[in-house]
C-alpha cells in the first residue's frame, strides 16, 4: 500500500521527517519497505510562458515555440498538438535540466536548434497524460520551479499491510495508527460543504441478503459533468499508483485510498427501474463485468441488481452496462459493507481480485459508511459541478454493538513479561478508538472501533498494548535451559550420516521432489504408488518422487555438461509413496540415502583416474552402514529385482539381514531413457528409524590364546560369491573357527572360462585354550570337504 506523507499531514500533525515516521510505523507493525521522495527525479524544470508560435521551416508536424523562462527568451522545437497560444503557460525543461535519467541538452531538430524541451506529464514523470503538453494555470509566474507550481514535493511510503489490519489500507487508518503512536489527535477528513437538494426521483433500495450485505449506503448526485480531475487530484493518484480517469471515477478512488472504503458509482440512468436490490445470485445467472468478460454466478455470490438483473458483483467488480461514461450526468454512489468470507469466495471462484474485493474480504468499517459516503458525494458534487440529491439511503445501519472484550491487566503482564501501568493500558486503548468500561477485579470491558475488526479477543488487546508500548522497550530475558529428553527421530543420525559421507569424499545435494511418471517408472514405481499434485508447477513436475536417483543423476548430467570429469554425489531426503489400495491418510514418507558415482574417480594424481565401480559403491555403503547406522550390511545380487541396474552388478542392499535398498551400475538402457550419463554407480537406501541403532557398541574380550591360520584356494563357478563361500565355511566350521575372509580372486591362465579362483583365510582360535595341530587339521578338513561337496570345487594347492 502506497501512503502519501503529505496526505497524512492533512489528517494529523506530523512534523517528523519521513524516515522517522517510517521507522515508527515499521516497529509497531506496519512495515515500511521503502520511502520514495516524490519529485526528486526532476531538476531544473520550470514554468514557461509561450511568447510566439511559428511553423517549423522543415517539419510540417512541428512548431518553433519561443518561451520566456524568467531568465530570457528561448526557442524550442515542439511537436505537441496543444501548444498554448501566446501568453499561455506550460512546462519547460531548459538545457541542463534533469528529467529522471534524461539530461536535457540543446539539440538540432530538422535544422533548427532547440534549447530544451516543452513537456507533458509523462515526459516529466509526474502523470499518465502523454497526449500533450502540461498546461499550467495562466497566473503562473514564468521561471517558477515546477516543484513549487505543481506542489510536487511529497514522500511515498511503501507499507506492507498485514491481513489483520484492513484499516491500514487507507490513509485514515495509518493516520490513526500514528495518532496512537505519537499521542496526537487525528482530524477526520471533511468533504467540501454541500447543500442537499430535494429528492427528485426516489431510487428504491432493498437488501434481500443482510447476511451477505449488512449495510448498504447509497447517495444520488445529479447534474454532473465528466471532466479530468484537477491537477492535485491527478498527481496524488499518480503518486499512489492509481491511474487518473475522470473526476467521477477519481473520487471513488480517493475515498478508497483515504477511508479504505471501496465505492461503486452507477450511472443512474442505466439502472433499470431506478432500483437497487442486493441479493444472492440465481444459479447460472450471468453478467458482463467492467473488464468485458461474461461472468456466470452461483447462489453463493452476492449481486447488486437493478429492476431487471445484476449490475455488479458485490464488492468485487461493477457491471459493464451501468459503468460511468463520458456522458453520465446522474450517479448513484454505493458505499456498503459486505460479509468478508462471502466476498472472498466469490473473488476466488471468479479468479477476479480487485482493490475493492481485497479490502472487503479483509473487513471494512461498517460504522464508517455514512462518513465515507458523505465525503464522496460532496467531493463528486464539487469536482463534477453537480448537486447532492436527497438524503443518503442507509439500509442495515451500524448494527448492534459488538460484545465487549474483557481485558485483565494481569494477563497483559503475564503474556508480555513486563508490567504496564493501568493508565498506560487505558491510554493506549482509548487512543486506538476503543470504548472502555470498568469491570470487576480491575478488569476493563473494551469495545473496539469499527475500523478494527481484528480486535475481538483479550489476546488481541494484549498485542495492541505490547506493540504500542514498543517491543524494543521489553527486557530480553535469556532462556533458562532445562535438560529435556533425548532428541527423538532421525535428526542426529542424519547429521552423522552426512558428516561420514562428506568425509568419504561425496558432495551433498538438495534436489527437488517433483518428477514425472516415466522417470519414476524407470526405477520400478507404478502409477498407483505415486502421489500426484493437483496444481503442479508444470507437467514434468506433477508427481512426488518415489526415489532420489533422478535428481542425483540430473546433477551428474549437469556436472558433465560443465566438463567436470566426474561427480560423486549423495542426498539425504524423503520419498513419497501412496498408501496401497487407495487407503486414505497421508502418503508413506521415508528418509532415504541416495548415492551416485558417475564418471571418473580421481585419487591423488589426475593420471590415476579410473571408472567408479561396484566396490566404490560398497565402500560408501560401508561408510554409511558401519560409520553412521552401525548396522551389519550386505549386498546380494538381484538382477531380476533391480531391473534398472546392469544385470552384472544389480544388487539388493541388506541391513540387519533385511532388504533396505539397491545398488549397482545404472542399466545403460535406463541411462539412455533418462538422458543421463552411462556407467553411473547408483545406490539407494531406506532409512527407517529402527535402522539407527541407539545402543553403544559392546566390547568383546581380547583373545588370550594363539590363532592358527589355514588358507584355502579353490576354483568356483562365476555365479558363486565370496559371501556364499564365507557363509558356508562359517556354517561348516566348528565354533572355534574365528574368522573367514577372502584374500584373492583370480581369473586367467590355468582357470577355465566361466570359473574363477578364490582364496580364503580361515583363522581358528579357541577362546579358552590353545588348539592342538590335530584339532585344527580335523576342523579344516571338515570345512574343505563341505565346500567341495557344496560347490563341486577343485581345491588348488
Amino acid at each position: 500500500m502506497k501512503i502519501s506523507l503529505a496526505w497524512l499531514r492533512e489528517l494529523i500533525d506530523l512534523p517528523e521527517p519521513a524516515a522517522e515516521v517510517a521507522e515508527r510505523l515499521t516497529m509497531t507493525g506496519f512495515e515500511v519497505e521503502a520511502v520514495h521522495r516524490a519529485g526528486a527525479h526532476l531538476e531544473g524544470a520550470v514554468a514557461g510562458e509561450v511568447l510566439e508560435v511559428r511553423p517549423h521551416p522543415g517539419r510540417p508536424d512541428m512548431h518553433v515555440v519561443v518561451v520566456a523562462d524568467g531568465v530570457g527568451r528561448r526557442e524550442v522545437v515542439c511537436g505537441a498538438p496543444n501548444i498554448p497560444a501566446p501568453g499561455g503557460k506550460t512546462a519547460y525543461a531548459p538545457p541542463g535540466a534533469k528529467l529522471g535519467d534524461v539530461a536535457v541538452e540543446a539539440r538540432r531538430l530538422g535544422g533548427v536548434e532547440s534549447l530544451g524541451v516543452l513537456c507533458s506529464e509523462t515526459d516529466l514523470g509526474i502523470g499518465a497524460d502523454a497526449s500533450g503538453l502540461l498546461v499550467l494555470p495562466p497566473a503562473t509566474r514564468p521561471g517558477a520551479s515546477l516543484h513549487e507550481v505543481l506542489c510536487l514535493h511529497d514522500h511515498v511510503l511503501d507499507v506492507n499491510v498485514t491481513p489483520n489490519r484492513p484499516d491500514g489500507l487507507g490513509h485514515l487508518g495509518i493516520a490513526r495508527e500514528l495518532g496512537t503512536i505519537y499521542r496526537r489527535p487525528v482530524c477526520l477528513p471533511q468533504a467540501p460543504p454541500f447543500q442537499r437538494t430535494a429528492r427528485e426521483v426516489d431510487p428504491y433500495v432493498r437488501v434481500d441478503d443482510p447476511a451477505g450485505c449488512p449495510r448498504y449506503g447509497a447517495q444520488v448526485v445529479r447534474g454532473l459533468a465528466v471532466a479530468p480531475s484537477p491537477w492535485a487530484v491527478r498527481y496524488r493518484l499518480h503518486l499512489l499508483g492509481v491511474r487518473a480517469v475522470s473526476n467521477l471515477v477519481d473520487v471513488t478512488n480517493l475515498v478508497l485510498l483515504l477511508f479504505s472504503q471501496p465505492l461503486h458509482a452507477f450511472d443512474l440512468a442505466k439502472l433499470r427501474g431506478g432500483t437497487i436490490v442486493v441479493r444472492r445470485a440465481r444459479d447460472g445467472e450471468t453478467m458482463f463485468t467492467l473488464d468485458g468478460l461474461e461472468r456466470r454466478f452461483v447462489p453463493d455470490d452476492v449481486l447488486i441488481c437493478d429492476g431487471e438483473g445484476p449490475v455488479a458483483v458485490a464488492g468485487v467488480m461493477g457491471g459493464l452496462s451501468s459503468e460511468i461514461r463520458d456522458d453520465t450526468t446522474d450517479v448513484l454512489i454505493e458505499c456498503a459493507h459486505f460479509d468478508p468470507p462471502s466476498i472472498r469466495r466469490t473473488s476466488r471462484r471468479l479468479g477476479l481480485s480487485s482493490e475493492s474485493s481485497y479490502r472487503f474480504e479483509r473487513g471494512t468499517d461498517r460504522s464508517g459508511v455514512p462518513r465515507a459516503l458523505a465525503y464522496a458525494a460532496g467531493l463528486m458534487a464539487e469536482l463534477g459541478r453537480g448537486r447532492v440529491c436527497g438524503e443518503a439511503i442507509d439500509a442495515g445501519g451500524t448494527g448492534p454493538d459488538p460484545a465487549p472484550v474483557r481485558l485483565r491487566p494481569a494477563r497483559v503482564a503475564r503474556i508480555v513479561g513486563r508490567e504496564f501501568p493501568s493508565d498506560e493500558i487505558r491510554g493506549t486503548l482509548e487512543r486506538l478508538g476503543c470504548r472502555l468500561a470498568p469491570a470487576s477485579n480491575g478488569a476493563l470491558d473494551v469495545v473496539a472501533p469499527g475500523w478494527r475488526p481484528d480486535l475481538t479477543r483479550e489476546i488481541d488487546l494484549v498485542e495492541e498494548i505490547a506493540r504500542i508500548g514498543g517491543y524494543d522497550a521489553l527486557p530480553g530475558t535469556p532462556p533458562t535451559v532445562t535438560a529435556g529428553p533425548r532428541t527423538q527421530g532421525n535428526w542426529e543420525k542424519l547429521a552423522t550420516l552426512r558428516r561420514v559421507l562428506v568425509a568419504r569424499g561425496l558432495a551433498e545435494t538438495v534436489n527437488h521432489v517433483f518428477a514425472d511418471l516415466p522417470t519414476l517408472q524407470a526405477f520400478g514405481a507404478t502409477e498407483d504408488q505415486c502421489v500426484p499434485l493437483k496444481n503442479p508447477l508444470d507437467a514434468g513436475r506433477a508427481l512426488l518422487r518415489t526415489t532420489l536417483l533422478p535428481g542425483l543423476l540430473g546433477d551428474a548430467r549437469l556436472a558433465f555438461a560443465h566438463r567436470l570429469p566426474g561427480a560423486a554425489l549423495f542426498e539425504l531426503g524423503k520419498t513419497f509413496h501412496r498408501r496401497p489400495g487407495g487407503t486414505p491418510g497421508l502418503p508413506h514418507e521415508t528418509w532415504r540415502l541416495g548415492i551416485v558415482l558417475a564418471g571418473k574417480r580421481i585419487e591423488g594424481l589426475a593420471g590415476n583416474a579410473a571408472d567408479w565401480d561396484l566396490y566404490d559403491l560398497a565402500a560408501m555403503l560401508a561408510a554409511a552402514a558401519d560409520g553412521a547406522l552401525r548396522r551389519p550390511w550386505a549386498l546380494r545380487p538381484a538382477p531380476d529385482r533391480v531391473r534398472w541396474c546392469h544385470p552384472r552388478s544389480a544388487c539388493l542392499v541388506e541391513i540387519d539381514g533385511a532388504e533396505a535398498g539397491f545398488a549397482g551400475e545404472l542399466h545403460p538402457a535406463t541411462a539412455d531413457r533418462l538422458d543421463v550419463p552411462r556407467g553411473a554407480q547408483v545406490l539407494e537406501l531406506e532409512l527407517t528409524p529402527e535402522r539407527f541403532r541407539p545402543e553403544p557398541d559392546k566390547v568383546r574380550e581380547l583373545p588370550r590364546f594363539p590363532a592358527v591360520r589355514r588358507d584355502l584356494a579353490a576354483v568356483f563357478d562365476e555365479t558363486v560369491t565370496a559371501g556364499d563361500v564365507v557363509a558356508d565355511a562359517r556354517r561348516l566350521g566348528p565354533t572355534f573357527l574365528d574368522e573367514v575372509s577372502v584374500f584373492d580372486v583370480y581369473r586367467g591362465e590355468g582357470i577355465p572360462a566361466g570359473r574363477k579362483s578364490m582364496a580364503f583365510a580361515l583363522v581358528y582360535r579357541h577362546p579358552e585354550r590353545t588348539l592342538t595341530e590335530a584339532e585344527v587339521e580335523t576342523a579344516h578338513a571338515g570345512v574343505v570337504d563341505g565346500l567341495v561337496s557344496r560347490f563341486g570345487v577343485t581345491i588348488r594347492k
Binding site: 508480555v416 517491543y471 532462556p479 532445562t482 546433477d555
Partner: protein, 351 residues
C-alpha cells in the same frame, strides 16, 4: 699396537699383519654385514685368530701365557676395530638416509579428496545445534500434510485472506492433502502428542506454488516452539536475540518489531543489522540497513484450543526462519537459484 715383549717375533709380526688386513677389509666394507664378515675372517670359527688359538696347545708350557695374552689382546683389538667401523657405517647410513631429493609436498594427496557439505544443510544443522544448546529437542513431521495441521489448527480459517500469504501446492488425493507451506504443522503434531512443557526445534523442507528468480518451490525452514506455564514475550526476545548473536556474531545488533502471523499473538519479527553494509543501506537490505531474520510470537490461544491445551494455564512462543536466507547471508550469496541447482562447481566451494 703390538707390544715389544718376550714372544717370538714371528707371532707378533703375524698378528700385526692380520690386524693390518682387517683394517683394510673393514675400510672396504660398505655395510655392517660386510664389516662383520671381514671381522669373522679373524674371529669366526674358522678365523685366523681362532686357528692360532688352536696352536696354543702345541707350544711349550713356558711360552703359553705370553702367547695367550698376545692373542687375547689381538682379539680385543680386532673386536674394537669392528665396533668402530660399525659405528662409522651406522652414522654414514643415517646421514645418507637424510639426504636424497626432497618430496614434492604440493602433489595432490592420495585417496579421494574430502567431499562437500551443502550450504543449506550445513546452515540448517547449525541453526538446530544452537537451539539444541538452549535445550530444544528436534521434532519432525510429514512434508505432505492435511488442511487441519497446516492451516486450520494454526488459526487460518477457511475463506480467510491470511491464506493468501502462502500459495499452496495441493496433493491430488482424498483428505484435503497439500505440500506443507511451513514447518508449523509439526508444532500442532507435537502438541497433540504430548502435554507441556514443550521445547522443540523443527527443521525441514516446505513448499509453495512459486518458481521464479527469487523463489524456489521447495525451500527450508527451521521453526521452534516453547510452551510452559510462564514463558513471556520478553523471554522470546531474549532467546531469539541470543540465537541471532550466536549465528551472526555477538557484535550484531538486533531489533524486535511488531508483525502478524495467524498462529501467534502478539506477533513480531526479528531483524539484525545488515551484515553486508553494517547498517548503511545496500542492495541486500534494500537500503533499510536491517535484514529480516525470523518471524515469531506468542502462541495464539486459538492454536492451544485446537490441540486441547488450556490457554489460561499454558503459554509460550513459536518462531520460524528461512534457512535459504540465512545461508545466503552467511556465505555472501545473492542468487538463491544456486542453492537448488546442485552445480558441482558451486558445491565444491564448501568443505
Amino acid at each position: 699396537m703390538t707390544q715389544p715383549d718376550q714372544q717370538a717375533p714371528d707371532l707378533a709380526a703375524e698378528l700385526h699383519a692380520l690386524l693390518e688386513r682387517l683394517d683394510a677389509d673393514l675400510a672396504a666394507a660398505h655395510n655392517a654385514e660386510e664389516a662383520r664378515a671381514a671381522a669373522a675372517k679373524l674371529l669366526g670359527k674358522k678365523g685366523a685368530l681362532t686357528a692360532l688359538q688352536k696352536k696354543l696347545g702345541t707350544l711349550p708350557a713356558p711360552e703359553r701365557p705370553a702367547f695367550g695374552a698376545s692373542l687375547n689382546r689381538a682379539k680385543d683389538d680386532a673386536a674394537s676395530r669392528l665396533e668402530n667401523r660399525l659405528t662409522t657405517l651406522e652414522r654414514e647410513a643415517f646421514e645418507r638416509s637424510l639426504s636424497g631429493p626432497p618430496l614434492d609436498p604440493t602433489l595432490p594427496p592420495r585417496g579421494l579428496p574430502h567431499g562437500h557439505a551443502h550450504p543449506l544443510m550445513s546452515t540448517m544443522h547449525d541453526i538446530v545445534d544452537i537451539f539444541g544448546r538452549m535445550g530444544f529437542q528436534v521434532a519432525e513431521g510429514p512434508e505432505v500434510e492435511d488442511d487441519f495441521h497446516n492451516f486450520e489448527a494454526l488459526n487460518f480459517p477457511p475463506d480467510h485472506p491470511a491464506r493468501d500469504m502462502q500459495d499452496t501446492l495441493f496433493v491430488d488425493a482424498p483428505g484435503n492433502l497439500l505440500m506443507r507451506t511451513h514447518t508449523s504443522p509439526v508444532q500442532i503434531r507435537t502438541m497433540l502428542a504430548q502435554q507441556p512443557p514443550v521445547r522443540v526445534v523443527i527443521p525441514g523442507a516446505v513448499y509453495r506454488h512459486d518458481d521464479d528468480a527469487t523463489h524456489s518451490p521447495r525451500f527450508f525452514q527451521v521453526e521452534g516452539l516453547l510452551v510452559d506455564d510462564h514463558t513471556t514475550l520478553a523471554d522470546l526476545k531474549g532467546c531469539l536475540t541470543l540465537f541471532v548473536q550466536e549465528f551472526f556474531g555477538a557484535d550484531v545488533s538486533v531489533r524486535f518489531r511488531a508483525s502478524f502471523f495467524p498462529f501467534t499473538e502478539p506477533s513480531g519479527e526479528i531483524d539484525c543489522r545488515c551484515v553486508v553494509c553494517r547498517g548503511k543501506g545496500c542492495r541486500v537490505c534494500k537500503g533499510s540497513g536491517w535484514l529480516e531474520i525470523l518471524g515469531c510470537g506468542m502462541v495464539d490461544p486459538a492454536v492451544f484450543r485446537h490441540v486441547g491445551y488450556d490457554p489460561e494455564k499454558w503459554q509460550g512462543f513459536a518462531f520460524g526462519m528461512g534457512v535459504d536466507r540465512l545461508a545466503m547471508l552467511r556465505h555472501g550469496m545473492s542468487d538463491i537459484r544456486l542453492l537448488y541447482e546442485n552445480d558441482l562447481r558451486f558445491l565444491r566451494q564448501f568443505q
